[in-house]
Amino acid sequence: MTSVIEKLPHRRLEAWKWTDLRGQVSDARTGLSQVMRPQFYLPDGISISEGEGASSDSAMGNLAAQFCSMSWNVYVPANTQLDAPIVLDELTQGHMRLAIMVDKGASLNLVEYHRGSESGFANLDIHILLAEGASLERTIVQDDPKDMVRISTACIAMETGASLSQYALSFGGGLTRLETRLYGDGEGVNARINGAYLLEGQRHTDMTSVVHLKHPNSHIRQSVKGVVTDKARGVFQGKFHVERPAQFTDAEMRHDALMLSDRAQIRSKPELEIYADDVACAHGNTIGALDESALFYMRQRGIPLQQARALLMEAFLTDVFDDLEDEALQASLVDKLRTRLEALS
């Protein structure tokens, strides 16, 4: 068992300096040496098999491979237009490997519910290939107990003209990391990578992303927003890596957070690494408090303080979900946020 812990990344690694996984995990965690038993809800015409899957070069990917010799493989045939999403549930604890291939011109909605168990540990290693002209709308809802440790890493390779819209909602846990690694393997890929986190108590969420572009004419928009209170901690790490051939890249990264308590923390590291000379790349990062004047204005109209705060925070956070195409799903994310906001003191 000790050997598992020794394989976990730790804070002396740059990419994990604010999310000290090894420091948070002890032998007592359930799921540390288990295989996850996920539940898949598949639309008609989509099947799932077990196979070798994609190989990983990360510590967490290798760890998943140690416990899962086989990967779940989902294949969406070329030009398939599905009228229902693939839903992943019961991502409770243990290790899992998943590979999804969306073939040329096909489109897929993927919805993941990450709901763990008390003192649990979960490690998901997800590989997605979007072939030429394929599109994916991926929605992640993470709602774990306060001491759950969860690492979810998705490597998404995009071929020419592929598009991705990703929306993540995270309520944190003992330690949560939702990592997205996007590889532009063809020209003109289009991606939106949005996320929102709301953390109370001593919860921790880390939203890390790397966008690696190697070909021209790609369009990337990223907006992550967070609210932290009590002694909670939010981490945002975003990197755009634009190689020399990736001319005419248009990429924008934003992270905006509200801190409602002096003891809460936000750690943010936006990085642009650009080798092409004709690109538009920008990043912005803000950390602030709720606007006291706006709060007074709302109270003067009769809205009680707590409700006024919840309304402002809801408006602040939910705009990252504005472009989510599945309206029912969008409404359910807003509802989840609202319920949590109303419960904040």
């Binding site: 606007d291 006291e292 004047s293 706006a294 007074f296 204005y297 709302m298 109270r299 003067q300 109209r301 009769g302 809205i303 009680p304 303080l305 409700q307 309304l311 402002l312 809801e314 408006a315 602040f316 939910t318 705009d319």
Partner: protein, 248 residues
């Protein structure tokens, strides 16, 4: 209806005294205007009445319908019928005007123990009032005041006022930013609310607004105190003579 007695109010953690013993009584059914030079304490009075943080009441009293106003939270004052039309209305990003107003109206009704208004009832009322004020329906779907011009924001204040039907109105420089047509629309809205149960305090820098909303009394506020009081014509005298002779 509103009785302010010997009120002193300080800002900057109590260090700077702005109102220095202000006494004023506004009975139900009357409209009183307060005029005065910059820095006299006009806006401070409006914030002290509505309970904004940072405005410390260091002396005197404010009685509103038999209640000690200074003991009430801003939202309690609102539910008791006190409404401030802001000199600079705030932008509320991400909250559509209709959502904001419905939340406010129903919060007030709930606080008063009344039934909440249903969505159709609310919508019907909002549409009728918006039409009167020449507010386009799509403006009501946009986040409150975000990207609105100064005049649009003021019109939106009056819209909220007509929707909330307060008992006592405080209007802080409602005329600033309005052209003559907009001023007339706004004044018509305010005049529609005049009735024997309702009191109003109109704070203004210029006499112009008082041509449209004719007050029962006009007070001059200079250096934190009421320096003089007159009738509606007194405003015209002030406009031509200035405030210098009331300065301490």
């Amino acid at each position: 209806m509103l009785k302010i007695n010997d009120l002193t109010v300080a800002v900057n953690d109590g260090e700077t005294e702005i109102l220095k013993g202000l006494t004023l009584e506004i009975p139900a059914g009357e409209v009183h205007a307060i005029m005065g030079p910059n820095g006299a304490g006009k806006s401070t009075l409006s914030y002290a009445l509505t309970g904004r943080d940072g405005y410390d009441i260091s002396g005197g009293s404010i009685d509103y319908l038999g209640n000690d106003l200074t003991e009430m939270e801003p939202e309690e004052r609102a539910a008791a019928g006190l409404f401030l039309s802001f000199q600079y209305p705030l932008e509320i990003p991400g909250v559509p005007t209709m959502t904001f107003l419905k939340t406010a109206l129903n919060a007030q009704r709930k606080a008063r123990g009344e039934d909440e208004l249903t969505a159709p009832e609310f919508l019907k009322k909002a549409r009728a009032i918006a039409a009167d004020l020449k507010i386009k329906p799509d403006m009501l779907k946009r986040p409150l005041n975000v990207g609105f011009s100064g005049g649009e924001k003021k019109r939106m204040e009056i819209f909220q006022m007509l929707m909330l039907e307060p008992k006592f109105l405080v209007m802080d420089e409602t005329d600033s930013g309005l052209d003559v047509d907009a001023l007339r629309i706004v004044a018509d809205g305010v005049n529609r609310l005049r009735n024997p149960e309702r009191g109003m305090l109109v704070i203004t820098h210029y006499q112009r607004l008082l041509d449209y909303i004719v007050p029962d009394k006009v007070h001059v506020l200079v250096d934190g105190k009421i320096a003089a009081t007159g009738d509606a014509d007194f405003a015209k005298t002030l406009e031509s003579e200035g405030y210098d002779k009331y300065a301490a």
